[in-house]
Amino acid sequence: VTDSTFHTLEAAIGDEHFPEVDLMLRRGRHIGRDDGTAYDYLVDAQALLEPFYRRFGCELVQQSDGYFYLLPSGDRLGRRQLSAGEMLVGQTLALLYLDPATLQHGGLVGREVLLQRLSGLLGTDVLVRTLNPRKRKYDERVAAETVRAQVGEALRRLADLGFVDIVDGVQLRLRPALMRFADPVRGLQDLNGALERLVARGEALLGEASTEDDGANDEEPA
């Protein structure tokens, strides 16, 4: 016996939320409690939608932090790996999400705080070289500008994916989905083992990004 509003897949798909939620999931968005009725709909229809998406070779994942996302494992739905910029920014935002100081402002941080933390954790040189791997020599001013631009682009993409909300252009509202970036270190096993487990589940890929394309890497379906 289920207390779900939906008793059949037809009813779940016929709900007014389905088209928007379906498109968001297929475009890689993480739908969390902050998304209001879209999240409530997913919670309600989860049991019916899981087998539905399995037929497309995807898994509808629900994390205990309170968000859903679609994880393609077959070749029926496209997928992409996050770029180096998105990975660095995502991990730094996850750190800020864990920081109690962020609580004071209800999960809001400024872009400047993000840049400061990123530069403080990695060092400017590593940051510049990771985000501009092809450049051997760089001018400090130009490099700083490039880093800011790349971080801005990564933030825009992470916002599209539901990891963060950009408020008024300068403030970032951190969302629980950021904890995906901490997945490799959440368990007690060592990092390599955890990464292998994530790779086996189709959550991540190891090594350098396969192709650089304006900060995003499109991966051909396996």
């Binding site: 790996q81 996050l82 990975m87 750190l95 864990l98 402002h105 990695l122 890929l205």
Partner: protein, 435 residues
């Protein structure tokens, strides 16, 4: 009374170069005076009392400072210049002065001393008094007659008593806002310092503030509706009696009351968001990681990421391609012309030797005395059909240049030939080929 124009007010403040420069010792001195006045119910202070108070404050704030009496004199002067102290005796140099704290000094010190956050008790008291006051004003408005009576019995109490009570609620609301900020900072500090062991204290703080806000909002919602109803009744009477000043004053109070009502709802919503966020944090982050090891492990992961890269995978289904709207194909007719037998039998034509004819006519014209190209062309063209005049003009020039010596100026003049043509003119300077 109309509201002052903000631009004009700011310009006048800038022109007067108003500023406040209060040191810690000054503030402590003012606070000492304020408390003394409060305790002993003093309306003013004698000069000696001021100096004594300053010396006491100096002992606490700057122990061992030289010449406290002289410093007291300077401090009193400084505070008078900044309109914090006012001399109230009017005796000039006849005797030592008597001083009182100004309204400005009172406001500054109250800000630091008074714990004026809104509480259930203070709000209930304030709203009760306000309701009674408004009922009195309404009763007066029903009885009064004439503009002067309206001003004395309605406008005055609304501005002063009611205005002060509403402002009092608003001031305490700001106090509560400041308290909330402190609570937020305190929660962050407690978690930073004690992490897991601070969870219960954080939850208690959150719940206390949430309960306070809920209670206050309930009181505000209930009472402000009542205030607005009373005020609208007064406004209707003012409109009927055509007392514009009273109508405007009531309207301003209504707006003020609306503002304090809106505050309650807005703060409760904001706190509710914060409350949920913190509870989620406590549940998902703190309770699941009691040793606070995750942050450190994530920091290490990020620091080593460049040498041990991994990339998360996300779904990326391309958008549905929108095809162009279907249009009925229009069959364009094939480019064609009617079939016909286009082979004609050749006709016999008279031989044409226009070039030779033109040469002969040019020679003839030169022989007859034509000495410019215009002259020669004018003589040749009439013998030719109109349709060939343009082409013939060039041939005439060609023949003349070949058969005679011609001379052209650097700036060759244009001259008309017959009606339709204009050519650059040459002079015939030799006639070797035509003789």
């Amino acid at each position: 009374m109309t509201s002052p124009d903000p631009s004009r007010t700011i310009a006048s403040l800038a022109r007067d170069q108003v500023n406040l420069d209060l040191k810690t010792v000054d503030l402590c001195f003012l606070a000492g005076l304020y408390l003394r006045a409060d305790k002993a119910a003093l309306a003013s202070f004698e000069e000696d009392m001021l100096v004594d108070m300053f010396e006491q404050v100096c002992d606490v704030v700057e122990p061992g400072a030289d010449n406290p009496r002289k410093r007291a004199t300077h401090a009193i002067q400084r505070l008078r210049e900044q309109r914090m102290l006012a001399r109230v005796d009017g005796a000039g140099i006849v005797r030592a002065g008597e001083y009182a704290l100004t309204r400005l000094a009172g406001a500054v010190i109250e800000y630091f001393l008074a714990d004026e956050a809104l509480t259930r008790e203070s709000l209930t008291l304030l709203t009760g008094t306000l309701r009674a006051q408004l009922a009195e004003v309404l009763a007066a408005a029903k009885k009064v007659d004439g503009e002067e009576a309206w001003r004395r019995n309605v406008v005055g109490p609304l501005r002063v008593t009611v205005g002060d009570l509403v402002a009092g609620i608003e001031r305490r609301q700001r106090g509560l806002d400041a308290q909330q900020e402190e609570v937020q900072a305190e929660i962050a500090t407690m978690l930073s310092a004690d992490w897991f062991s601070a969870v219960d204290r954080c939850e208690a703080l959150l719940d206390t503030t949430a309960n306070t806000l809920r209670e206050l909002n309930e009181i505000l919602l209930r009472d402000t509706n009542h205030f607005v109803a009373l005020l609208q009744e007064i406004q209707t009477l003012a409109i009927t009696a055509e007392i514009t000043e009273a109508n405007e004053t009531v309207q301003r109070v209504i707006e003020h009351v609306d503002r304090i009502a809106a505050w309650g709802g807005a703060r409760q919503r904001a706190w509710s968001e914060y409350y949920q966020y913190v509870h989620r944090y406590l549940r998902d982050v703190v309770r699941l990681d009691p040793d606070r090891a995750l942050s450190q492990r994530l920091r290490d992961q990020l620091a080593a990421w460049s040498s041990r890269r991994f990339h998360l995978l996300v779904a990326d289904a391309s958008s549905i391609r929108l095809l162009r709207q279907l249009e009925a194909r229009v069959e364009l007719p094939m480019v064609a012309r009617p079939r016909a037998d286009r082979e004609f039998a050749p006709e016999w034509m008279d031989a044409e030797n226009a070039l030779a004819d033109i040469e002969a006519m040019v020679v003839e014209a030169v022989r007859e005395g034509a000495h410019t190209l215009v002259d020669v062309t004018s003589r040749v063209l009439p013998a030719l059909p109109n349709s060939t005049h343009y082409a013939a003009t060039g041939r005439v020039a060609d023949a003349l240049a070949r058969l005679a010596a011609v001379h052209a100026e650097r700036e060759r003049p244009w001259a008309r030939v017959q009606e339709r043509l204009e050519i650059e003119d040459w002079t015939v300077s030799g006639r070797e080929g035509v003789s």
